[in-house]
């Protein structure tokens, strides 16, 4: 009989709980009952793959999706997608979305009084290479106000959606910037109890990927669940 090799469960406190009342939208959306523990089966250790996704220059360079250049500070965001044992994950689909340099999203629900940029959509995608590496060119997103509490501002961030090898490893997260003065006050960034886990959402300024006279480099590595050491019979 074939064997199931499950993916590891998250370490306690390194992932947010559903109810985090400082983030008001969790109050009516967090389930009240605890989730039912489910051993992983073939349904969970398999998952979608995206071999036919086109990752051309427009997909990975968010500054080249329109006729003109977007406003703002040009940045390179790159890193690796690896598992908890440090193994690179190849052909992992990454999707990103973000506000423009003024802190405005190209979205009808965003009514923030900051200008849209006709040369910036704020959407990109990439597949990791054989070493698990990815690279985007974009502009640094602005901070923006939101209605969570009085004088609430989200720190600058880029949303990341990542498909790992299996349904059990699916991850959506946000990348932040070091030194952002809003980080200590943001209920979404601070929703995770473990400080080390939280801080790994902050990208690191990187001379190695900085391009002289063009763009500053930021490195953001993404870690996906690794596998259990011992297989289960299925």
């Amino acid at each position: 009989m074939a064997r199931i090799l499950p993916y590891r469960r998250p370490h306690p406190e390194t992932q947010p709980r559903y109810l985090h009342s400082p983030y008001a939208s969790t109050i009516k959306r967090a389930p009240a009952k605890p989730p039912v523990y489910l051993p992983q089966t073939l349904s969970e250790i398999t998952g979608p793959s995206f071999p036919n996704v086109v990752t051309d220059i427009k997909a990975t360079d968010l500054t080249r999706q329109h006729h003109g250049d977007p406003l703002g500070e040009r940045i390179i965001v790159s890193g690796r997608v690896i598992d908890e044992d440090g193994r690179p994950l190849r052909q992992a689909l990454i999707e990103i979305w973000q506000a423009n340099a003024a802190g405005r999203y190209l979205h009808e629900s965003d009514q923030h009084q900051a200008p849209l940029d006709p040369n910036f959509t704020g959407c990109g995608h990439a597949l990791t290479d054989n070493e698990g590496k990815y690279r985007f060119v974009t502009v640094r997103p602005g901070a923006y106000p939101w209605g969570n509490h009085h004088n609430a501002w989200r720190p600058a961030h880029i949303h990341f959606s990542v498909f790992g090898p299996a349904f059990a490893t699916r991850l959506v997260t946000q990348m932040y910037f070091s030194g952002d003065p809003l980080l200590p006050f943001d209920p979404i960034f601070n929703c995770t109890a473990d400080e080390g886990a939280r801080n790994r959402l902050i990208s690191v300024f990187d001379w190695e990927t900085t391009i002289p006279s063009q763009a500053l480099g930021y490195r953001f590595d993404i870690v996906m669940s690794g596998r259990e050491a011992t297989p289960m019979e299925r």
């Binding site: 199931i4 983030y23 992983q40 979608p48 044992d85």
Partner: protein, 191 residues
């Protein structure tokens, strides 16, 4: 080297900029084998208000009970035109719908067959992590012995089973209630 998986964060309210490039609500192209089903429903919060900014991702086997994934080594046919993956947003009324085929059965941890099911990830503004649930099918004898359904207290199992819609051929209703006395059963199956 070993480190913990990256911390999850909410998709927020503006995810359509990045995720709606690849909406997939019809998984059943004409040449895919199997019984076609249209599954529709609503996502509701703890006040029974619609959740207009949610997105579901589904994953399922083909009609033979085979996943389009290299680790499914069962001796069953693959179908080139069936990926088993869908991505379905809710609308302003919290409604969603998708078309697929009823999946075949796949093994449970003891090697017995699970009842046909679709696994679902739920993302939304206000969800700091995804929620994971399953959709089962009505009038399915295998539901009674399904290992995952048996992990759920009997009074709550119905939240996982889609219902027939009167007069709708091949139409099933399955609602997702995030919170409350009849809240949907969610599973802890990993991240």
């Amino acid at each position: 080297m070993s480190s913990n998986a990256t911390t999850s964060q909410t998709i927020g309210p503006f995810f359509s900029i990045g995720m709606c490039r690849s909406i997939k609500q019809n998984l059943a192209d004409a040449n895919v084998s199997g019984e076609r089903v249209n599954i529709e429903g609503r996502v509701l919060d703890g006040d029974r208000q619609p959740v207009p900014d949610a997105i579901l991702e589904i994953w399922q086997a083909n009609s033979h009970g085979k996943y389009a994934h290299p680790e499914d080594d069962q001796d069953k046919p693959r179908e080139a035109n069936f990926t088993g993956y869908g991505r379905i947003p809710t609308n302003i009324e919290g409604k969603f719908h998708f078309t697929t085929i009823k999946p075949g059965q796949v093994p449970d941890p003891d090697g017995k067959l699970q009842a046909p099911h679709i696994v679902v990830s739920v993302f939304a503004r206000g969800l700091l992590r995804r929620l994971v649930t399953r959709i089962y099918f009505p009038d399915e004898p295998a539901n009674d012995s399904d290992f995952a359904l048996k992990l759920v207290e009997p009074s709550r199992r119905g939240t996982l089973i889609a219902k027939k819609v009167a007069g709708g051929v091949g139409v099933l209703e399955w609602n997702l209630i995030l919170q409350g006395s009849d809240e949907t059963v969610f599973f802890d199956c990993g991240l």
